[in-house]
Each structure stands twice: as structure tokens, then as C-alpha cells.
């Protein structure tokens, strides 16, 4: 449900991100056919790629933990996502992988990185977008 919530939030901000001179893409984990089905079901309006080996996740230090599911904050976020219509469906990909958000410049410099502390701990898009520098 958190991944669906994340792409729904991003879909609403695509134009703002583009207006600031940035591409917007998403990367998931799991097989390409899983990603393709997800993109079709969620009507994603920006490019989606997949990282079956989670190499990029590892390179950025994104967290993978079973413990997060025990945290009350995660339950609250799960309720938030569910109440917003992003119900949990069958999980495809690593169920214990957490997400994140990165901004990378044309020279390959990592300009910003948010590592989700646990499930549903998405980056604050208002702050991210406000900080985008097209240069």
C-alpha cells in the first residue's frame, strides 16, 4: 500500500518537478513483469524501472528490515494509506525493502537522499520540490 501511496503522491507533482527542470522516475524491485503490471494498474504518469538485484538500493544504503512492521508509526501510516484508498494488494518484490528518494545531477552528483526509516516514511515532497535546482 505504501508504494501505491508514494506513486499517487508523485503523480500529482509531476508538472512541478518538470517545471523545475528535472526528470521524475521511479524504480522498484522485482521482476520487470511485476513492474509492468504495477504501472498499468496504478496508471503511473512517469517512467518506472525495476532493479531486480536491488543494486541501486544497496548502493544508496536504503534499508531492508523486518522490524519496521512492529512499529506503531508504521501502523499509523498504514491506516493513513488505507484511508486514502491505497489498500494493500499482493506483494510483488521484496516485502521487507524500504524505499527512498534521490535527486541526482547531470554530473552524477547525489544532490539529495532520503532514506525511508521504515515502511511509509516517505520524503516530504514539498521540501524536496522547493529545493530542486535546475542548474
Amino acid at each position: 500500500m505504501f508504494c501505491r501511496e508514494q506513486v499517487a503522491r508523485l503523480s500529482k507533482r509531476v508538472d512541478e518537478i518538470h517545471a523545475r527542470g528535472h526528470h521524475l522516475v521511479a524504480i522498484g524491485n522485482g521482476a520487470p513483469y511485476m513492474a509492468k503490471a504495477f504501472a498499468e494498474n496504478e496508471n503511473i504518469t512517469f517512467p518506472l524501472y525495476t532493479d531486480p538485484g536491488k543494486d541501486a538500493y544497496k548502493a544508496l544504503g536504503l534499508k531492508n528490515s523486518k522490524a519496521g512492521i512492529l512499529k506503531p508509526a508504521v501502523w499509523k501510516r498504514g491506516l493513513r494509506a488505507t484511508m486514502s484508498g491505497h489498500k494493500q494488494t499482493g506483494v510483488r518484490g521484496d516485502p521487507f525493502q524500504n524505499g527512498g528518494l534521490a535527486v541526482v545531477g547531470p554530473d552524477g552528483t547525489l544532490r539529495f537522499l532520503h532514506v525511508d526509516d521504515d515502511m511509509g516514511d516517505h520524503a516530504d515532497l514539498d521540501s524536496v520540490i522547493a529545493g530542486l535546482d535546475p542548474a
Partner: protein, 36 residues
């Protein structure tokens, strides 16, 4: 492994150099937990 050396996959199961995402302009990359 360095981020810029990583190869990801398109939805059509084709290899894609992640560095091509930011080759012409900066990119915001959202990493999803999974699909579900």
C-alpha cells in the same frame, strides 16, 4: 557498487544504464518498497 555503474531494467525486460536517467538533466528518483 557505485550508483552510476548500475544497470536496471525497463518494463520490457531490457537493460538500462541508470546513469542515463540523469545524462541530460537532473532527476528525481523515487525508490519504491515493492509492487503491491
Amino acid at each position: 557498487m557505485q550508483l552510476h555503474n548500475i544497470t536496471i531494467k525497463t518494463l520490457e525486460d531490457e537493460d538500462y544504464a541508470i546513469a542515463d536517467l540523469w545524462r541530460d538533466k537532473p532527476v528525481v528518483i523515487a525508490f519504491l518498497r515493492h509492487y503491491g
